[in-house]
C-alpha cells in the first residue's frame, strides 16, 4: 500500500516542472562547485610539477613562501565550498523540495 502511494507520488513529482527546475539548479550547483575544487587542486599539482621555484619564493622580505598560503588556502577552500553548499541547501533547496512534495501528497 505504502509502496503504491510512493510510486504514484514519484510519478507526480517527476512530472512537476518546479521539481525539474529545482533538480536542475541543484545539480548545476553541485557540478560547478565540484569543478572549482577539482580545477583548483589540479592547478596546484601542476604548479608543483612545473614551477616549484614559484611556490618556494618568499613573500616580501619574510621567510614564509607563496606556497604556504596557497596550500593552506586550498584546505580552507575545501571547507568553505562545503559550507557554501550546505548553507545553500539548508536555506533554499530543502524548503522548495518540501513545498513541492507537500503539494503532491495533499
Amino acid at each position: 500500500m505504502k509502496q503504491e502511494q510512493d510510486a504514484a507520488l514519484v510519478a507526480a513529482v517527476a512530472a512537476d516542472p518546479r521539481y525539474r527546475a529545482l533538480v536542475a539548479r541543484r545539480a548545476r550547483l553541485g557540478w560547478w562547485l565540484s569543478a572549482v575544487i577539482f580545477v583548483a587542486f589540479v592547478a596546484y599539482l601542476l604548479l608543483i610539477a612545473f614551477d616549484k621555484a614559484l611556490l618556494g619564493a618568499p613573500i616580501g622580505d619574510g621567510v614564509t613562501s607563496i606556497g604556504i598560503p596557497i596550500g593552506l588556502g586550498l584546505i580552507l577552500l575545501a571547507i568553505a565550498l562545503t559550507g557554501l553548499y550546505v548553507a545553500h541547501a539548508n536555506r533554499h533547496h530543502d524548503a522548495q523540495m518540501a513545498h513541492i512534495l507537500k503539494d503532491h501528497r495533499a
Partner: protein
C-alpha cells in the same frame, strides 16, 4: 627495519622512503602511556557493553539504527579517516622535508567536497546499509552486488593490512611491547567492538578517538605557536635557521646551507613527473568518494540533510587537523631537531623517522603528555580498523549472503549472525596478515586501496546515480574492468615491482594508476552499457526516472529505526 615503512602506509608515494629509513627500535616500557591506554580501552569496552544491549537487529548492527546526528557522524567520519599514519607520517614528512607534507594533506581533503556535491544526499536517500544498495538500486541484484562486495573486500583488505602492520610497529615503538602481541591486541579489541557493539560501538570509538586526537593535536600546535609568539613567520624562520645550521654542521658552504635551509619552504622531491602528480591526486580525490567504510557512514544518519551536515563537519575537522599537523611538523623541526636528547649519534630521530610528533609531545608536556599522545595514536588505529572491518562484514552478510545467496529473504537474525561470523573471520585474517607482512614494505597498499576505490566504486556509483543509460552489465563488468586496470597497473608500478618485489625497472613508470584506471572504469561502463541489448538492459533504463526522483527527494527512503 624496512617494515617501519608500514607505519606511514597511508602515505603512498615512494617519496616517503627517505623519511622512513629510521629503525623501529623498541622503546622502554612507558607506564603513563599504558595507564592512559588502559583507561581508553576500559571506556570503549564499557561503551561496547552498553551498545551490545541495544544491538538486536541488522539495522542496529550496520547503521546504529540510523539515529546518529550529522554532527556526531561528521566526527565519526573524521575519526574513520584521520589515521595514526597521517598524524605521525605527515608530521614526520614535514620534519624532514618541510613543505611536501602539505601536498598530501590537501590531496586527502579535496575528495570530501566532491563526495558532498555529487553523492552524499543521493546515497542517503537510496541506500540502507551499504553503498551496494545504491549502486545496485535499479539493476539485477546478483551481478552488481557481487561486484560491490568483492570491491569492498579488496579495498578493505589492503587498507586493513597496512593499518595492522603500522599498528604493530607503532605499538612496539610506543609501548615497548612485542610486535606479535601488539597485532593480536589490536585484532582482538577491534573484534570485540564490532562483534558485540556493531556500528553503535564503532561510531562512539571513532568519535572519542577524533576528540582525543583533535584535542591533543590542538594543544601541541598551540604550545608550538606560543613559543613563537603566535607568529607562523617566526616559526618558519626558526625552522629554516635550524635546517641551515644543520647543513653548516654537515660541512656545507654558507650558500649551500642557506639554500638547504630555505628548501623546506618549497615543494621538494615529492612530485617527479606531472603524470604521476595528477594520477596520484586523482586517486586520493576520487578514492575518498569510493571508500566503502566512509560511504557506509552515510546510512547511520536519519536523512539527507543530516548526511550533508556530516560531510561539512567531517571536512572541517579533517582540514583543521591537517593544518595542525603542518604546525606540529614545523614545531618538531624547531623543538625536537635542536635537542640532542631526541637524537641519536648521527643526528637522526631516536626510535625511528616517524617519532617526530611523539618526541614533540615529550618536549612540550613531558612524560604525561607523551603518554597521552601515544595512547591517542593507538586509539586512532583501533577506530580505523574497527570501521574497516564493519564495512567488510556488511558486504559479506548484507550484499553476498542476504541479497545474492538468499535473494533478500534472509531474516534479520540470520543476517546478523553471518555478520558476526564474518567479523570473526576477518579479525583472524587481519591478525594473520599483520603477522605475515611484518617485514614487508606495505606502503603501496593504502595507495592501492585508494586507486581501487577511485577506479571501481566511484565510476559505478556516479554513473548508476546520474546516467540513465547505465545497465546491469555496464556497472558490473565496467566496474570490474576499472578495478582490474588499477590493480594490474599498480602491480607493474615502481612501488610494487621494484621496491617490494625487487624485479628491476618497472614496466609501468608512474607512481599511481588512477589517471588511466579511472577513465578505464568510466569508459568501460559507458561502452558496455551502450552495447548492452539484453532484455534486462531495458528494465535497467526504464527504472532510472523513478530512481532519480527518489534519490533527489528522499521519497521511500529508509527511516531511522531507533528504539
Amino acid at each position: 627495519m624496512r617494515a617501519m615503512i608500514g607505519l606511514i602506509a597511508l602515505l603512498p608515494a615512494p617519496a616517503f622512503a627517505a623519511a622512513l629509513e629510521g629503525e623501529a627500535q623498541r622503546q622502554p616500557t612507558n607506564w603513563v602511556a599504558i595507564a592512559m591506554f588502559v583507561a581508553f580501552v576500559g571506556l570503549t569496552l564499557w561503551i561496547t557493553k552498553v551498545a551490545a544491549a541495544r544491538t538486536r537487529t541488522a539495522s542496529d548492527f550496520y547503521t546504529a539504527g540510523g539515529g546518529i546526528t550529522g554532527f556526531q557522524n561528521g566526527l565519526a567520519m573524521a575519526g574513520d579517516y584521520m589515521s595514526a599514519a597521517s598524524f605521525l607520517g605527515i608530521s614526520a614528512q614535514i620534519f624532514n622535508d618541510g613543505y611536501d607534507g602539505l601536498i598530501y594533506s590537501t590531496g586527502f581533503l579535496v575528495g570530501w567536497p566532491i563526495l558532498l556535491f555529487l553523492m552524499a544526499e543521493r546515497l542517503r536517500n537510496l541506500g540502507r546499509y551499504t553503498f551496494a544498495d545504491v549502486a545496485s538500486y535499479r539493476f539485477a541484484q546478483p551481478p552488481v552486488r557481487s561486484f560491490a562486495a568483492i570491491s569492498t573486500l579488496l579495498v578493505v583488505s589492503f587498507y586493513l593490512v597496512a593499518q595492522m602492520v603500522g599498528a604493530g610497529q607503532l605499538i612496539k615503538l610506543l609501548f615497548g611491547l612485542p610486535y606479535a602481541l601488539a597485532v593480536v591486541m589490536v585484532g582482538g579489541l577491534m573484534m570485540l567492538y564490532v562483534l558485540f557493539g556493531g556500528m553503535r560501538a564503532t561510531t562512539w570509538v571513532q568519535i572519542i578517538k577524533a576528540v582525543l586526537l583533535l584535542g591533543g593535536a590542538s594543544f601541541m600546535a598551540l604550545m608550538v605557536l606560543a613559543q613563537c609568539g603566535f607568529s607562523l613567520e617566526t616559526l618558519f624562520a626558526r625552522a629554516v635557521e635550524v635546517k641551515t645550521q644543520a647543513a653548516l654542521a654537515d660541512g656545507a658552504s654558507a650558500a649551500q646551507a642557506a639554500e638547504q635551509g630555505r628548501s623546506i619552504m618549497a615543494p621538494g622531491n615529492f612530485i617527479k613527473d606531472p603524470v604521476s602528480a595528477i594520477s596520484f591526486g586523482l586517486a586520493l580525490m576520487l578514492g575518498t568518494a569510493g571508500l566503502p567504510h566512509i560511504l557506509m557512514r552515510f546510512f547511520t544518519v536519519p536523512d539527507a540533510k543530516e548526511a550533508r551536515k556530516s560531510v561539512l563537519w567531517a571536512t572541517g575537522w579533517i582540514g583543521y587537523f591537517y593544518i595542525l599537523t603542518f604546525i606540529i611538523g614545523f614545531g618538531a623541526i624547531v623543538l625536537v631537531g635542536t635537542d640532542a636528547s631526541y637524537l641519536d649519534g648521527e643526528g637522526a630521530l631516536r626510535g625511528g623517522g616517524n617519532m617526530a610528533a611523539i618526541h614533540l609531545a615529550h618536549a612540550i608536556g613531558g612524560n604525561a603528555f607523551l603518554g597521552f599522545i601515544s595512547a591517542v595514536a593507538f586509539a586512532t588505529i583501533l577506530a580505523v580498523v574497527a570501521g574497516l572491518t564493519l564495512s567488510a562484514a556488511s558486504a559479506v552478510s548484507h550484499d553476498l549472503y542476504a541479497t545474492v545467496f538468499k535473494h533478500g529473504k534472509a531474516s534479520s537474525a540470520d543476517e546478523l549472525r553471518v555478520s558476526r561470523l564474518t567479523t570473526l573471520a576477518l579479525g583472524a585474517l587481519a591478525v594473520l596478515l599483520g603477522l605475515v607482512f611484518e617485514k614487508q614494505n606495505v606502503a603501496f597498499m593504502v595507495s592501492l586501496a585508494f586507486a581501487l576505490a577511485a577506479s571501481g566504486n566511484f565510476p559505478v556509483l556516479i554513473l548508476s546515480l546520474l546516467w540513465g543509460g547505465c545497465t546491469t552489465r555496464g556497472a558490473a563488468w565496467g566496474g570490474t574492468i576499472g578495478l582490474l586496470t588499477a590493480f594490474i597497473l599498480t602491480l607493474l608500478s615502481p612501488a610494487v615491482w621494484t621496491t617490494t618485489f625487487g624485479l628491476g625497472v618497472a614496466p609501468f613508470p608512474y607512481s599511481s594508476a588512477a589517471i588511466f584506471s579511472v577513465p578505464a572504469g568510466f569508459i568501460a561502463i559507458w561502452l558496455i552499457s551502450r552495447l548492452d541489448g539484453s532484455p534486462r538492459a531495458a528494465v535497467d533504463k526504464a527504472g532510472y526516472p523513478a530512481q532519480r526522483v527518489r534519490a533527489e527527494t528522499g521519497i521511500g527512503a529508509f527511516a531511522a529505526s531507533d528504539h
